[in-house]
């Protein structure tokens, strides 16, 4: 990537003699709170509607208004929807960052900018398109107060002309964005987009090579953010008790869920809610309520991010030890401490896997896409009740808060199973039960729910030492037996967690292991390694912890295995170190990125080449 010292430069002259079609990235640099989100979403959606695979990523500050924010849209005919490091097309709306944004570009990139910024004076190796935004917005938006918000829509029109995006699609996306109820706002914005388009058509000569061409790769697909996909998954999993405390980047998960539940989960016959959603006073209370709900038989959940996970630590130990099902969504952001609240990371892997004091370990699910946010949510609720334990669904800010192209979700086929719960009738037949007795050899005891009408139904739940009958004990053998049973239960989980996705490349000596959103960069990097360096690489994408046997086999099968971590301390690799034998550990290499942006393929490829010594 170029730096601030760009010299010598080759000045551009005349029109581009080649075209780059459906393979570029646009970066929009704005100030947050300026309403740019609408313009950016419309731009992304209109490319999507033209059948071109697209992704959009918002890089925003932890602030409400006035600080720099960047939105990148990537169009990729190959279907790569991870972040692309290189920016081909810059829309520079923020005077504060404009200079640096321009200086960072590779030669040959295009820049649409607010004319008074005079960015064209900075470099001679870029394609510049100055736009007098204030002049253009005034006639289309008579209300001066609204101009700040409408102004951004002008660049949608400019870019539509420059990239050959069909204006009909811009209009369609606008209508979709504003809905029927805000038709007036849609009309106002449409006027601005048209003004931009007309200005560009009358003023510019296109000199850059980038443009779109209609494809048919998005038919039938949806656009959704990962948090909403998780929310839908939870609703169709039959969640009944939802507790939360607002925290970026997880807030929109529950907010989206509130919207869906109000629409679809009130009993049509009685009008009564079939769910309770409670905004708790803090994360200590939200996990407490989720556990209380799980204990009383509800499918319960909470959603949070790293700081909330830290706060929940004590209660999660209780959930583990007293064996209470619940689902915790961790939409990871950059830590430690407050960290970078609006940047993405996978930095909670070790702390969450081993959350709480004493010997504790917890199953983690790692969805990588909107489809998996939906399907693995349903699996997580099932798993929590099957194993009577808290389950963590680990997503991140990139997956949770950004919009993703996805296939429509598949309706769950299997009926809901509630795990080993004894009814009053069961107790009548059995005569009684011992809550923590391993009757079936899988480490999972039978439980009863409070309210079960049988004299033998009750038991006493506690976080203190307990025997098979849930009675208080400090006896050495009782304690050891119980802890061994819990360890055995965890081993049984290995056979029931979602299995990894494995792609073995013929003759590959190296392999990747990754989780979650690292997937996009790793898959693209595999292609780069092959096409640019003729290196074959296999790839195993983990979907869960505890690891299944597949992982060990995969490591045995390769000479070197690169474990991709979006954190400083190679946490995913660290978890493997905890349980693997030395010869497997010796094959593991670490590939880490922790800058807070979504991982990109070039970073992965460059690092592999460096470590492979080529």
């Amino acid at each position: 990537m170029s730096t601030l010292e760009v010299s010598p430069v080759e000045p551009l002259s005349g029109q581009s003699n080649h075209s780059v079609i459906n393979d570029f990235s646009i970066q929009v640099a704005t100030v947050n709170g300026s309403g740019s989100q609408t313009a950016n979403t419309v731009l992304m959606r209109s490319i999507f509607q033209m059948g071109i695979p697209v992704s959009g990523k918002n890089m925003f500050p932890s602030n409400i208004a006035g600080l720099p924010t960047w939105f990148t849209i990537r169009a990729s005919k190959h279907g790569y929807i991870g972040r692309r490091k290189e920016i081909d097309f810059l829309i520079a709306m923020n005077p504060e960052t404009a200079r640096e944004d321009v200086m960072k570009l590779d030669g040959g990139a295009a820049v649409v900018y607010d004319a008074p910024l005079k960015l064209n004076e900075l470099r001679s190796d870029l394609h510049f398109y100055p736009v007098p935004f204030d002049k253009l917005v005034a006639p289309v938006c008579p209300d001066a107060k609204l101009r700040k918000l409408v102004r951004n829509m002008i660049y949608d029109g400019i870019v539509a002309w420059l990239l050959s995006i069909e204006m009909d699609e811009i209009h369609k996306a606008l209508v979709k964005q504003f809905g029927k109820r805000k038709a007036k706002a849609a009309e106002l914005n449409w006027g601005a987009a048209k003004a931009g388009f007309d200005y560009a058509a009358q003023t510019f000569t296109k000199t850059d090579p980038y443009r779109v061409e209609r494809m048919n790769e998005t038919a039938g697909k949806i656009i959704i953010d990962g948090n909403s996909a998780c929310a839908l998954g939870a609703m169709f999993a039959g969640v009944t008790v939802v507790t939360w405390y607002p925290i970026t980047p997880s807030s929109s998960l529950v907010e989206s869920l509130i919207g869906y539940m109000k629409r679809f989960r009130n009993d049509p016959e009685t009008g009564k809610a079939t769910f309770a959603i409670v905004q708790a006073e803090d994360e200590l209370a939200s996990i407490g309520m989720a556990l209380g709900g799980g204990w009383a038989g509800a499918r319960s959940m909470t959603a949070t991010a790293g700081p909330g996970i830290s706060l929940m630590s004590e209660f999660i130990g209780l959930g583990y030890y007293a064996e209470i099902p619940t689902v915790v969504y961790d939409v990871e952001r950059v830590g430690p401490s407050t960290g970078l609240p609006t940047r993405t990371a996978q930095g909670d892997i070790i702390s969450t896997a081993l959350l709480s004091h004493g010997d504790t370990k917890h199953p983690l699910f790692f969805p990588c896409s909107a489809e998996e946010c939906f399907s693995m949510s349903i699996e997580a609720f099932e798993f929590a009740e099957l194993f009577q334990t808290p389950v963590f669904v680990m997503t991140d800010l990139d997956l949770g808060m950004n919009n993703w192209m996805a296939d429509p979700f598949t309706y769950p086929e299997k009926p809901i199973k509630r795990g080993k719960v004894l009814s009053a009738e069961d107790l009548g037949q059995l005569g009684g039960f011992a809550r923590y007795k391993d009757v079936d050899g899988d480490g999972i005891g039978y439980r009863t729910l409070p309210g079960t009408n049988h004299p033998n139904a009750s038991y006493f739940t506690r976080g203190s030492g307990h025997n098979e009958k849930a009675q208080y004990t400090e006896r050495e053998d009782d304690y050891i037996n119980n802890m061994e049973r819990l360890a055995h239960k965890f081993e049984v989980m290995r056979k029931h967690v979602p299995e990894p996705v494995i792609k073995i490349a013929d003759n590959a000596k190296i392999g990747f292991v990754a989780v979650g959103t690292s997937d996009y960069a790793v898959r693209e990097s595999c292609d780069q390694l092959k096409s640019e360096y003729d290196i074959d690489a296999s790839y195993l994408r983990l979907k869960a912890y505890p690891f299944t046997e597949h992982l060990k086999d995969f490591i045995r099968h390769h000479d070197r295995v690169y474990v991709v971590d979006q954190n400083r301390d190679a946490q995913l690799l660290g978890l493997m170190r905890l349980e693997f034998e030395a010869e497997l550990i010796a094959k593991l290499r670490s590939l880490r990125y922790f800058g807070g942006l979504p991982l990109d393929a070039r970073t992965v490829t460059d690092e592999i080449i460096r470590q492979e010594g080529q």
Partner: protein, 346 residues
Amino acid sequence: MSIAPPPPKKVNRIGLEVLNYKGSKTTLCAGCGHNSISERIVECFYELGVEPYKVAKFSGIGCSSKSPAYFLGLSHGFNAVHGRMPSIATGAMLANRQLMGLGVTGDGDTASIGIGQFMHLVRRNVPMIYIIEDNGVYGLTKGQFSATADLDSVLKTGTRNDLPPFDCCALALKWGATFVARSFSGDKRQLQAILKTAISHNGLSVIDVVSPCVTFNDHDGSTKSYSYMKDHEYMLHELDYVPHFEDITVEIPEGSFMDVEMHDGSHLRIRKLERDYDPTDRMAALAVLEHALAKHEVLTGVLYVNTNKPTFLELLNLGEEPIATLPESKVRPAKAVLDQVMEELR
């Protein structure tokens, strides 16, 4: 010689013996006020014929929080983490609103580590009973001050408390509990009436019971000792409880009294003692507590009762059936719903 038939077992109105309301043997110190409270719980639930399986017991951490093991053995119990029983109880009550929640906690558990969750439980008016076994010290860690210890009270070690106390009743009154009472573990009659009223109440009942710690806080200089209570307890009124299954007109007392009808049709009958006191007046309740504090009086009785305020579960528009166990048809929307949402996202 003939053998006399055994006397019929004494049972309550649902056919259960008092034994069915007991728990395991207490491990608290002999003479501990908490044991008296456990006995009152057993008596009240037995006498009112509450179905034990409908009760869910909750506690935090501390001596008081151990006690749910010592009563209502046929009820599910949950001994949670320190200070955070309210959130566990709230979650369980959301899941199954048919449960009768019975929380037992201490002054450390509630007024120190748990003050936040306590206040939010109060604010939500979660329908459950919340008993604070208040002895002013941490018993289980051997006698440190809690946040309800009175200013200038003295520990066994001679340490003087130089911070003012939290009054859990005042806090509960101020922020939304709908039944607030204070009692003394040594006053069997009053505590029974208060407990029974709480059982009949639809809303959060906060009952602060002064419950002396015989091991660490029953000495001269303590304001939570048996002898201090003997000299400083001031009863607001005399209380009688008339259950809904008994005729209220049978025993009309002499003198001035008022009846408060509770949610289940039972009545709290309040007989006037020295002063006029209207327990439906929240401002008056806060005022008498302030005055009592200044005069070093421990006011006992029903400080406040409000039978009209909606509970948290009502605000959430929950139906009568527990949401925890609703059938799949009620909690998993049909495929058409998913199709509709997918269409909207295209």
